[in-house]
């Protein structure tokens, strides 16, 4: 499955200055594994030591929240994933 993954601009420097990436996988977790194989620096940012998505990030599939159990959610060809950080500044 070919999935479009959209990163926040904040993380573009860890992904070759890109925010729109193509990843492959049948689940969100597989897509993230593919993302980390392409851009290993992102793994330390998004996952904890146990390989779980840090709670400071939310994943949306085609604009709808993948919460809870994001990593197991299925995706299909042409889907669009967003990873967005929790932000709190004012």
């Amino acid at each position: 499955m070919s999935i479009e993954l959209q990163l926040s601009s904040v993380f573009a420097r860890y992904a070759g200055n890109q925010t729109t990436l193509t990843v492959k996988g049948n689940t969100v977790g597989e897509c993230l594994d593919d993302l980390f194989s392409q851009y290993p620096d992102l793994k330390k940012i998004f996952l904890d030591k146990n390989g779980n998505l840090l709670r400071a990030f939310d994943i949306y599939i085609n604009g709808t929240s993948a919460y809870p159990k994001e990593m197991t959610k299925p995706v299909k060809d042409g889907d669009k994933l967003h990873i967005i950080p929790v932000i709190y500044g004012g």
Binding site: Q6, S8, S9, V10, A12, T19, R55, A56, D58, Y60, G63, T64, S65, Y67, P68, H82, I84, P85, V86, I87, Y88, G89, G90
Partner: protein, 247 residues
């Protein structure tokens, strides 16, 4: 009843289709609670003041620092070391002498929030931390007061409107997540955009115009100059609003 001077001051917005003198009178009677007089609170309060919102209560416990001045346009060089609320009240009254502006220099807590938001028609979340945002969100739900969330980081910002019992709340979106509080990067134009969205939502709610930003989280990425809209839903297990029946 609007005075002759008010009719002249607000002439260009009274002209708006669907707004009229009736909309202006609604703004005049409205009571808005703005939590934060910083990067977001500055544009929110300025635009609500000049639009003619009749009663603005703005709260902030900080004093003005030099490092605030790249984004907090309510405060100027001459206000350094003053309370932000004193600086804010002074500017807002000068911008519009016809409105009532009240500044409260307190820290928002679970204990004082019921008193702070009493009689408010709408709550604006212009805070700088998640913990206080959750306090505001819960108070909004408990008191059945609409709540407009905004947040920024760097060149990115986010906004959403909550109608308690009808739409997803902040806790439905973030599930109680807290993150360590850090000094974050930000450039003034980002809270300017998000603060203006929040002020627009408040004006729309008060006047009954348009469609609110409910069940939608809008994400603004200035570097790619894109707005992305995410669909959010009420979480039946939400600790803040899950037990509230649809209103």
């Amino acid at each position: 009843m609007l005075s002759r001077e008010e009719l002249e001051r607000y002439d260009r917005q009274i002209m708006l289709y669907g707004f009229g003198e009736e909309g202006q009178e609604k703004l005049k009677k409205a009571r808005v609670f703005i939590a934060g007089a910083g990067g977001l609170g500055s544009p929110v309060s300025i635009y609500l003041a000049i639009a003619g919102v009749g009663n603005i209560r703005i709260i902030d416990h900080d004093t003005v620092e030099l490092s605030n001045l790249n984004r907090q346009i309510l405060h100027w060089q001459e206000n350094i070391r003053e309370r932000k609320t004193d600086s804010a009240v002074e500017k807002l009254r000068k911008l519009n002498p016809d409105i009532k502006v009240e500044g409260i220099a307190e820290t928002i807590t679970e204990k004082n929030i019921p008193r702070l938001v009493v009689n408010a028609d709408i709550i604006i979340d212009a805070m700088d931390n998640l913990e206080t945002r959750y306090i505001l969100n819960r108070a909004a739900i408990d008191k059945n007061i609409p709540f407009v969330h905004g947040a920024v980081n760097g060149f990115e910002g986010r906004a959403m409107t909550v109608i308690p019992g009808k739409s997803a709340c902040l806790n439905c979106v973030y599930h109680g997540v807290t993150v360590p509080r850090e000094k974050i990067p930000v450039i003034g134009v980002t809270p300017a955009v998000i603060g203006c969205i929040q002020a627009t939502e408040a004006i729309k709610y008060i006047t009954g115009m348009g469609n609110l930003l409910t069940n939608r989280l809008i994400n603004y990425d200035a570097l790619s100059m894109t707005f992305t809209e995410f669909t959010v839903k009420r979480d039946p297990d939400c600790e803040h609003c899950g037990k509230i029946k649809n209103r």
